[in-house]
Point group: D2
Amino acid sequence: MSGNTFGKLFTVTTFGESHGIALGCIVDGCPPGLELSEADLQIDLDRRKPGTSKYATQRREDDEVQILSGVFEGKTTGTSIGLLIRNKDQKSKDYSEIKDKFRPAHADYTYHQKYGVRDYRGGGRSSARETAMRVAAGAIAKKYLKQRFGIEVRGYVSQIGDIKPTSFDWDAVPQNPFFCPDQSVVPQMEALIDQLRRDGSSIGAKVTVVATGMMPGLGEPIFDRLDAELAHALMSINAVKGVEIGAGFDVVTQRGEQHRDELTPDGFESNNAGGILGGISSGQDIIAHIALKPTSSLRIPGKSIDTDGNPVEVVTLGRHDPCVGVRATPIAEAMMALVLMDHALRHRGQNADVETHTPQLAGSARIKEQE
Amino acid sequence: MSGNTFGKLFTVTTFGESHGIALGCIVDGCPPGLELSEADLQIDLDRRKPGTSKYATQRREDDEVQILSGVFEGKTTGTSIGLLIRNKDQKSKDYSEIKDKFRPAHADYTYHQKYGVRDYRGGGRSSARETAMRVAAGAIAKKYLKQRFGIEVRGYVSQIGDIKPTSFDWDAVPQNPFFCPDQSVVPQMEALIDQLRRDGSSIGAKVTVVATGMMPGLGEPIFDRLDAELAHALMSINAVKGVEIGAGFDVVTQRGEQHRDELTPDGFESNNAGGILGGISSGQDIIAHIALKPTSSLRIPGKSIDTDGNPVEVVTLGRHDPCVGVRATPIAEAMMALVLMDHALRHRGQNADVETHTPQLAGSARIKEQE
Amino acid sequence: MSGNTFGKLFTVTTFGESHGIALGCIVDGCPPGLELSEADLQIDLDRRKPGTSKYATQRREDDEVQILSGVFEGKTTGTSIGLLIRNKDQKSKDYSEIKDKFRPAHADYTYHQKYGVRDYRGGGRSSARETAMRVAAGAIAKKYLKQRFGIEVRGYVSQIGDIKPTSFDWDAVPQNPFFCPDQSVVPQMEALIDQLRRDGSSIGAKVTVVATGMMPGLGEPIFDRLDAELAHALMSINAVKGVEIGAGFDVVTQRGEQHRDELTPDGFESNNAGGILGGISSGQDIIAHIALKPTSSLRIPGKSIDTDGNPVEVVTLGRHDPCVGVRATPIAEAMMALVLMDHALRHRGQNADVETHTPQLAGSARIKEQE
Amino acid sequence: MSGNTFGKLFTVTTFGESHGIALGCIVDGCPPGLELSEADLQIDLDRRKPGTSKYATQRREDDEVQILSGVFEGKTTGTSIGLLIRNKDQKSKDYSEIKDKFRPAHADYTYHQKYGVRDYRGGGRSSARETAMRVAAGAIAKKYLKQRFGIEVRGYVSQIGDIKPTSFDWDAVPQNPFFCPDQSVVPQMEALIDQLRRDGSSIGAKVTVVATGMMPGLGEPIFDRLDAELAHALMSINAVKGVEIGAGFDVVTQRGEQHRDELTPDGFESNNAGGILGGISSGQDIIAHIALKPTSSLRIPGKSIDTDGNPVEVVTLGRHDPCVGVRATPIAEAMMALVLMDHALRHRGQNADVETHTPQLAGSARIKEQE
C-alpha cells in the first residue's frame, strides 16, 4: 500500500503509466448482487476523456475499460473486481528532449529525487491519465450509492479564471464542454480558452462536487472524519491545491451566529457546514469545492535544470489542455463517491443496529451558489 | 481503526472525552534512541492550553501529560508509547439543559444519529479537548524531525476575521496570545476579541503552517500524496472547513507561466506549489493554510430541535472562546509533523538505497506573505 | 501501527512494559449500546492472572482494569475505549544480572539487535504481562458476540507434556487450575508441575479454543481468510509455535474421502475443517489448537552471550511458571474472540443485504476429542 | 481491502476467478532500481503450474504473466507493478451439474451463504488457480531479498501421507515432481499417487519452507510478530490446516532445557525456535511447516445438499490432483518471501539508524530434519 490504494472497506488500488501498456485497478469490497457491466463505467470514462471537444487536449485516449473479474452473470459477486484499460495511443515518440530535463511545476524533479529513476514518457505515473481508473472505480461506487441509498454525486465547474456561473441549473452541466451550470457564461469560457491556446498559456479552475440524497451518520471521528477523508480524496487529484467543505475559507470572516446552520423540525436553515458536523454527515447535501492549478505544459519557455543540475529552458510543444480543471469534474465526483461508499459500508459495519426515535431532518438547505 | 488512528508507520491512536476520566493516546512506530521526557511534550501542550490568556477560554485544563511506556532510561525503545492526561476539571455540572437538545453547528445531532447515544458532557468525544493528545503525539514527531532531519514545523495565525498581519516575523509569534507574526496588528485583534466576548459572538480564523528544512522525496503517489495526507490531517482538526497547499485557491485565477515555480541551479524561484510537486516534497518549504469556523457556542440564542424533534432555543452560557482558530496553531503544527514523520519513515522503508547524482536544489523560495 | 494494533474494524492497540508504570489499550470500533463495566473485563483478567494457584507463577499482578473512555451511563458510545492497568508489583529489584546478558530462548537478543536498546526489567515489552490487555479487550468482543450473535468462545488445555484429557466436560474446565476438561487427569498434571518446579525445569502445552453458536459467512478471501486471521492472532501469543485449524496436522495422512465433512440436510457429518471452508465460517464450531513452548526461565544453567559477545551462563532464579501454556487459555480465547468480532463487523459492512433461500445447516459436528 | 490485499509496505492485491477472463495483481511498494522482467516471474510460475508431470493435474494453464506497469527500461521505478495472466483454458464446459450443488469440503456452501451468489465455474475465486498471482508477486520479493540482503527462500515437501524423506539434499528438490529432498523415497511417492489416482482418492501433505541468509531484526511485536505474519500468510494458502514455526507442535512435550536454543559466540546451538524469538528474526534460518489437506475433488461419491437444502450426491469427474500439497511448495515460498520483504522494508523504516556493538551471531543451526 505504498500510496496506490484508497479506502478501507471499499478499496481501490491502481497501476499504470501514461504511455505504458495498460492502466488497471482492483476494486475490493464491493457488495455482491450489484448489476454491473462495462457500460456502467464507460459513461463517466467518456465524460473524463480528452479529445471530446476542442476545449480539451486533442490526445485520443479511447479509455475502453474491460471488467476482468468479480462480476458473474451480470452481477457483482463480492470478490475483487479487476479493471483494465489498454493504452492505444503509445506513439513511438522521441522523448530525448524531456528525458534529462525537469519540467517546472511537474513531478519530474520530485519523482527523480525520490525514486532515482522515472518513466519520463508523457509523465509516466504522474500523468493525469492515471485518473481514468479512479473514474472507472468511482462509477461502481456511484451506482451502488444511487441504487441502495438514493445518494447522487454530481459536480460542476464553478469558476475558470475570473469567470463564474451567474445562475445555476444542473441540467445545463452536461450540455457544454465546461461542465458549467450556467449556459450564459459558456461563450466567455470558450473565448478565454481559445485565447489561452493561442498564447500557449493556461488557467486555473474551481470545481464543486455535491452529494444529494444523503443520510446522517457517515464519517468516523476522530481522524477519519468524513470531511477529512474527502479532503484527502480530493487533494489527491492531480493539480488540486485547495479543498473547501461548505462555506470553506469564507468562514474566516463569518461570525458564529451567521455560520451556524440552525435546525428546525422542517430541516436545517442553511448549509455553511457543507453537510458535515463533527466529521459526520448530517443528511444535508455534502458540498466540496476544489482549486485546480493551471497546467505547466506551456508553449511559453520556462527556466529549469537538467539531471546534472545545469540550467535549461523548457517548452511544451504539441497538444495541451489550457484548463485541466474542466476535466477534473468527473474525477472529483468519483473521489467523493469512493469516500461515501467506503463510509457507508464502515458505518453499517459498526452501527447496523443503531435505532433512534429522533426524526431525520428533512430537506437539504444549500449554499447560495446553488440556489 | 474506526477513525481514531492516524498514520501508517508512525501511528497515533487516541481516546478520551471532554469530561471523562482521562485522555490518552498510543504512539506506535517511533524509532528507538530518541531522548524523550514529559517536558518535551508539555511545551506544546501549554501552547495549546486554554486559560493562558483572557483571549482564550478560561477553562482550566492542566493538561499534564504522563509517559506510561515506550521510554526507558530517558530514551525511546521502539515499542509503543502510552500517553495519559487525567481530566481534572470535571465539575459535577448540571447537563440536563444540553442533554436532550442539539446545539446548532455542533456534533450533537450527528453523533446522536450515528451512534444512537452520546456523551453530552462538554461535547464528549467531539470536544476540541481531544486535540490535546494530537499535540502531545505531534511533539514527539517534531522532536525527531528536528534532530534527525533538521525539519522544523511552525505555525502562525494569518487572519482573524478581516484582520491580517501586515508584516512577518517568526519571532513575534510566541510573543502574543494570537500566534500573530505581526505585533502591530495585535491591538486590533485584542479589540475584536473583546468586542465579540461582549456580544456573546465569535469569529473565524486562518492559520498557516510551514515546514522548513525539508528534503525532497516525502509523499507517496497516487493516493497518499503528501498534500493529500496533509489535507486529511488538517481537515480532521475540529472547526476546519478548508485546506490550501501553497497558493491554494489563488491558483484558480493564475496563468500557467505565473504559477509554475521555475527551477535554477540556485533553487526554485517561487513557491506557489507549497513545496509539493506530484504529491512529493520538493525540498522547498511546505506551506499549508487552514480555515477555521467561528465557534457556535454563543450567548446569542439559536434555533434547534430536541431529541424528540421539537423546536427549542439554545444558548451557551459560561466561559467560551470567541476565536477557536487561535488555539489551533499548535494543533495544526502537530498534524503536519505527524504526516511528515510518517512519510519520512515510509520513504526510507521503500527508498533507502536510492542515490542520484542530481543535486538537491538549495534555498526555499517562500510565498509572499512570509517575505 | 508498528505491530501494536490488531484488527481492521474492531481494533485493539496496546502499550506497556512488564515493569513500567502501566499497561493500556485502546479498543476502537465497538458498536454502541453494549452494556459494559470493569466487572465484565475483570472476570477473564482474573482467569489469566498469575498467582492464583501454586501451579502458576507466584508473582502478584492485581490486574485491576479501569475503563477511561468510550462508556457512558453504563453503555458503549461507539467511540474509542481506553483501558488501563497500573503495574503495582514494580519491585526496585536489581536487574544488573540480566541487563547485559541475553537469556536463551527469550527475546532479549532479538530486541537488542532490532532496536539497539531494550527495557530489560522483567522482559519489558516482550513479557507475557502484555497479554493482560488482550484479555481485557477480548472480553469486550466476547460479550458482544454472545449478546448479539449467540457466539461463545471457550478454551481448555488439551495437553501438558504427555498428559492428555481422556474425557471431555466443559464444566470441568473452570474447576481446576489447569483449564483441563477432564478432572481425572488433574492429579497427574499436579504431580508433573510439582516435579518440574523442583527440577527448575518447564514443559510445553497444547491449548484448544472453540467457538460455538457460529453463523456462516465470517472471513474474507483471499488473504484475510478466517483461518489465516486466527493463525495470525493465535501465533502472536507469547510462546506459541504452532496453530492448527480443525484436524490440523492430522490431514497430512488423511485421504480425501475421510477428510471431507459431508453435508446432509441435518448438518455436517464431521468437522475436520474446524468450521472454516475456503476461509469462510460454515456455521460449525470453530476449532483451533495451539502449541506453547516450555518457558526458558529455568533454574538449570544455560549457555549464552553478553552484549559484548562474550560467553556467559544464565540462570533464572525466583518465581517462575513451569507451564506457561496453562495461563494461555483465556488469552487464546480473547484472540479468537477479537478475530470473530472484527469479521462479524466486516461481514455486515459488505454483505448486510445478502439473502439466500438456502437453509443454514443446523448442528455442529465436533472433532473426536470433544465428543 | 476486503481480504484481497496482503502486506503493509510491500503489498500484493489480487483478483481473478478460475475460469474468468484473467488473473491479475498489483504489487505496490517495491523499491526502485530492481532489474525485473517477465522471465523472473515465469520461473516460479512454471514450478507451480499444473500439467507439468503426470503426478499433478493435467489441466493446462499456460500461466504466461505480463508486466503491465512499474518497470521501465528493465528496472522497477517504485510505482505500482501491474501483473496479468490471461486464462486460456476456459472450456465452454457444462457447469449445470455443479451449479446448484455444494461440493463437500469445498468453499461452495460458504461462498454461497456469505455472498448469496458465486461464480461456480471451476471454483471461481476459491480455486487454487488464484495462487498463481501470489507466486508471481512472491518472485519479485524473492529476487529483491536475494540481491539486496542475501536472503534465500526455498521449500520442499516433507511428507506425503506416511512417506517422509529419510535424507536431506536441497539439490534433489528440483529433480523430482514432488519437491522431495530425498530422491530415494520418490518411487514410493509415485506409487502412492498412482494408486490414489486409480482409487479416485487423494492424500494430504506437509511442506517445509526455509529462509537462509537471514539477518536479525525482522518482525514487529506485539501483533505483527514475524511468526504471526508467517502463520497468517501460510494459513491463507488453499488447503492449509496447520502451521508450525521451528519445532512446532513438538514443543508440547519438550522441557525448557531441551527447547531453549543456547547461544555461544559461535552461534546458536540449535534452532527449535525456527529463527524467531519474541516475534523478531534472530538471524538463524527461518523454518516453517504447513499441513495441507487432501483435496475433496474425488471420484468417490460424497453426500451433500443442493441450494434448496435437498440431499444430493457429488462426484468429481475429469482431471484432478491426488495431492495438492505438492504444488503448494512454490506458493509457500512466495508467501514467506512476501512476509520477509514487507518486514525488511518496515524494519528499516523504523530502525534504519540503529547501531549496536553486539556481534550478530554467525552460523544458523537447523532442525534435525535438514541435517
